[in-house]
Symmetry: C2
Subunit: 208 residues, 2 copies
């Protein structure tokens, strides 16, 4: 039994979907960001970073989305969620997810989490960051569309841990002021994702 701590619509959606696709026995536990529950002493015992996702495993707690996704792929090899036996293709999968984590998610975070990088009193700088988000996020999705996405799934014919992660971050495009139709391959991917039974089931916890 695994426990996944998540906040609706956050990047924790990616491992949530991966657990469901893997057929894992898991419990999804909602962390209420509006009540700052991620900063509560109880939650900081689970994840000292005060963020989601956090996956409680029989061996301990794992944090950081790319790490959790690979762990799920390794623990449920029958689900074939990553090219585990091929170092180069696994490297491509890891590279894709690392780009989502450290470039795409970070660019997006400058809209709502600017105080990570400037003082909260500096409202002009926070506004300057927010103004740049449509440009920086779109540039990253342009690279995904033109260079990184194979199709029909991220890595090609086979669905992998890259797919729920791309789906999760692509859902933020409209809120970032970007028309998803600018990226037809990514938009087609989103359309294929929402047809998957695992996605339909899990989205109830994130949208419902």
């Amino acid at each position: 039994m695994f426990k996944l701590y998540y906040s609706p619509g956050s990047c924790a959606l990616a491992p949530h979907l991966a657990l469901e696709e893997a057929g894992a026995d898991y419990q999804a536990i909602r962390v209420d960001f509006k009540a700052s529950e991620q900063r509560s002493p109880q939650y900081l015992q689970v994840n000292p970073k005060g963020r989601v996702p956090a996956l409680v495993t029989p061996d301990g707690v794992l944090t950081e989305t790319p790490a959790i996704l690979v762990y799920i792929a390794q623990m449920f090899p029958q689900a074939a969620l990553a090219p585990l036996g091929d170092p180069f293709r696994f490297g491509i999968a890891q590279s894709f997810n690392s780009y989502l984590c450290s470039t795409v998610h970070v660019a997006h975070a400058h809209k709502g989490r600017g105080t990570r990088w400037v003082d909260e009193s500096d409202t002009a700088a926070i506004a300057a960051m927010q103004r740049k988000v449509p440009q920086s996020v779109a540039a990253a999705f342009e690279l995904i569309e033109q260079q990184l996405f194979t199709g029909p799934w991220v890595l090609g014919e086979r669905y992998s841990i890259c797919d729920p992660y791309l789906f999760t971050l692509a859902r933020w495009l409209e809120g970032d002021g970007i028309d998803p139709a600018r990226f037809p391959k990514v938009a087609g991917h989103t359309a294929r994702m929402v047809e998957r039974p695992a996605v339909r089931k899990v989205m109830v916890a994130h949208d419902g």
Copy 2:
């Protein structure tokens, strides 16, 4: 034969050190950032992201430091650079490197790469970002010092791909206005690292 594209002192130092520790047959190719060589048509053919590191392998090019590090560990299993056979411990290694990539490196990058996240004409916002760097980077190293670092190496008794990456980012502390002595475990780690023959050899290309 591998080719590693690097810029001196950049995060490409981490895979450079890992290749050396693994005993790999590789060539390190310097990319001259002062001449904007990373934006040249030739280099963009290697890495469309216009960044380093990029590792040319017999199967193709890999980018993103955490992905390259794991690839090296998998291609040179005799060097035992990652707990490849244990999904949870491998997950901890991946989580550590993902944190370095998406939180520590990103916090640091707000000093010199602010135009990724605000318009380059917005000099006040760029200055506001720079002012926050000592605080945001130090907070991340505080978490490493208190929670993530086991000792004597990052994961414990065994040297791994987490060690060259931590070493690489800890070298940026002083330039970010942070006294490395504030983090005694990390400082001890740096001292152990510089004694390693592989580190002494590779540093010539980065400091020399």
